[in-house]
Point group: C2
Chain length 420, copies 2
């Protein structure tokens, strides 16, 4: 559908009103009801397999030849991928309910009994790109945490998204919950994103998931609170007291396990004292990866190319890493503090005191000792699933799972107390 700007704003406001009403009902639903909706949604998704694949084929055909292969691969659904989506819904049903947890409890001298209890946030706007499964995962995480969701997926995936939302809505209806718990923006009009970002009367939180352009747009335009990360410029620092073989193994994994994820190491920082020993081993192990070092590193290991100033703050998301030599822990802390994007940074050392100093001093969402930065992930943290990763310092930081999709309120139980 094509709409004027006013139409788009009205449309988003209507979705917002519907979402708010649905969220109110969902917020009072029992865990069993929410789980029943998730399980019924999984079933509905499996039943819709032929329709979904046909819709997805329409999406794929419309961009064929116009978008890179990697884009089309992210967009494409197969029976296996649909099954994985359905089974993710069931896995989220099996996770503990984050709503209603008693976060704190205190009794005051005047007898007031005060509880801090987890409650849903309300209405969440989810803005993402071409992968249709992001819509299903996000809907399931929002539903389980008692939140209504408004999905705004990439316009290229609109036919697939429509079928996925219909399946979730059938699941919700079957459990007696309002269908408007899960809605899609519908229109592919770009002004809809802006309207969603400004709709602070209806939307409590926006989570963008995608490339830097999308996330930057959201960060700049949102009036609504957001949970997001712009960059994952992650560092692995090899301290002079590191076990060299362990360091090579960890960094190879941190850089090359998957180069396109935000927790991949982009910059390797090495103590000068051990550089001649580790550089050749690391270069061997990171075969196929371009290493861009400072002048000193290049002089020690000629397979390195010379880095420019820009490299120190670049998130490559590719088989490239920068290599910086430092004199000691203090210099490493200064360098990483200057260039880190606050996502994940690691130290590799057998010196526990040095590790402790690093973990305290580096101001990133996740700081690691002797482990691969690629562990920075909700699933790996045992959260069951994540809707994104946040690098801001308000509300949630690091992987955003079910608990992070809740707020809280204070319940005050009195017996007639008045304040002196």
């Amino acid at each position: 559908m094509t709409l004027t700007n006013t139409d788009v704003t009205d449309h988003i406001m209507r979705l917002g009103e519907q979402a708010k009403a649905a969220a109110r009902a969902l917020g009072l639903a029992s865990t069993d009801t929410k789980n029943a909706a998730l399980i019924a949604s999984a079933k509905a998704l499996r039943e819709s397999l032929p329709v979904l694949l046909a819709a997805n084929d329409k999406d794929v055909q419309s961009v064929m030849g116009k978008k890179p292969d990697a884009f089309i691969d992210r967009l494409k659904l197969t029976p296996d991928r649909v099954e994985a989506m359905a089974s993710a819904l069931e896995q989220i049903a099996a996770l503990p309910d984050p709503v209603g947890r008693k976060l704190a409890h205190f009794e005051r001298p005047n007898g007031l009994n005060i509880e801090r209890v987890a409650v849903p946030i309300g209405v969440i706007g989810m803005i993402y790109e071409s992968r249709p499964n992001v819509g299903a995962d996000a809907s399931a995480l929002c539903l389980k945490s008692g939140n209504a969701v408004i999905l705004r997926g990439g316009s290229e995936s609109r036919h697939s998204t429509e079928i996925i939302v219909e399946a979730m809505q059938r699941g919700l209806a079957e459990a007696g919950l309002p269908a408007h718990v899960v809605q899609a923006v519908g229109t592919t009009d770009r002004s809809a994103v802006k309207a969603l970002l400004q709709a602070d009367d209806y939307v409590d939180l926006v989570i963008p998931r995608g490339g830097r352009g999308l996330v930057e747009l959201v960060a700049n335009e949102a009036k609504v609170p957001t949970l997001l990360h712009l960059d994952g410029n992650c560092h692995s620092y090899v301290h002079h007291a590191a076990d060299i073989d362990k360091a090579v193994k960890i960094i190879t994994n941190a850089k090359l396990r998957r180069t396109g994820v935000c927790g991949a190491t982009e910059s390797i920082v090495i103590d000068r004292k051990i550089a001649t020993v580790i550089l050749p081993k690391l270069t061997d192990s990171l075969k196929g990866c371009e290493l861009r070092g400072d002048a000193e590193a290049v002089s020690l290991e000629p397979r390195l190319t010379l880095a420019t100033e820009e490299d120190w703050s670049t998130e490559y998301l590719d088989s490239i890493a920068s290599v910086k030599l430092v004199e000691n822990l203090d210099e490493a802390l200064a360098f990483i503090s200057k260039h880190s994007s606050g996502h994940t940074d690691a130290i590799i050392t057998e010196d526990n005191e040095a590790a402790r100093r690093f973990l305290l001093a580096i101001d990133s969402a996740v700081v690691m000792h002797n482990a691969s930065t690629q562990f920075s992930d909700g699933g790996e943290f045992g959260m069951g699933a994540e809707i994104g990763i946040a690098t801001g310092k308000m509300h949630a930081r690091g992987p955003v799972g079910l608990e992070q999709l809740t707020s809280f309120k204070y319940l005050v139980h009195g017996t007639g107390q008045t304040r002196p």
Copy 2:
């Protein structure tokens, strides 16, 4: 000082850089060092008494005859008020350190050991009006929670603020902490507020404290995250199963103990079934308070005046309350959900099941049963002190005390784990 807009932006950025560097050092300081700084600041404040009173007199003289008496009373310092400020610093020193608390701890099957630990937020911008003690309290709460603060008090209090900041900086220096932990914007240029609200590279959080105009400005202009509340349109609902005398006593306190605080009840909601019994008693007890009721309430109790639609969403901050009759709990829930500003709402009833339904269904930061809404306060909650009250759902909700001035990070302890 008078500055151009570019000058103001540069000035705020320089304060921001200094604050960020100071916050880094403070974040690593021990509890003892922070407490020593607070105690030394209290001493410095007492020593500065004559200078502070002289500066305050300059502030008071400059607005004499131009501002209402209540404004001048808020601005005015006396030896007793300065002593109260100093002793508040010592009380904050005595509170537990919110930094370093272990918020969660989990071990993964692969042996990764993950802790979630409270850390300071970083740099906090505090924007307030004429009361000089707000600057001292906020500085102390920020210092204790490991955050640097940039104060922007009302221009009328600038001489007082200058002396208070100097005293805090002497206290910081004495404890070996950087003076830039506490800074004042200095210039009274109004564009400084805007520059502070936009400085998201340096400022992690802005907290406004003051009248609706100030808070609205911050809510609309801030690029930086904020913790704030616009309105405190608080309700007290008398359920038909209430103990009438208890209800009268609670509501009299909730409305009249202090009418100018955000937790004061502004709207009284009453079940029709008990209206004839409670209305005369309530009107007697709330003497001096104007009661604006709906037509039915006015017909039952002629001392009431007729409310307009606007009254239901008005925060009077005065000896006025609106009175609404409802059929039952469901109607009360609908009415309060529609008009509440999400601050604090209370039910008065002896029926625990009705109370439970109310506490779950009302989506406000604080919900109460059989207690005065005026208890909605950090001190009354046992937080020791509060820097403000938040009605947003992200990060902190309700009273914002020391714990709410922290973020957290994940510390991941490995033994060489790589991700499969």
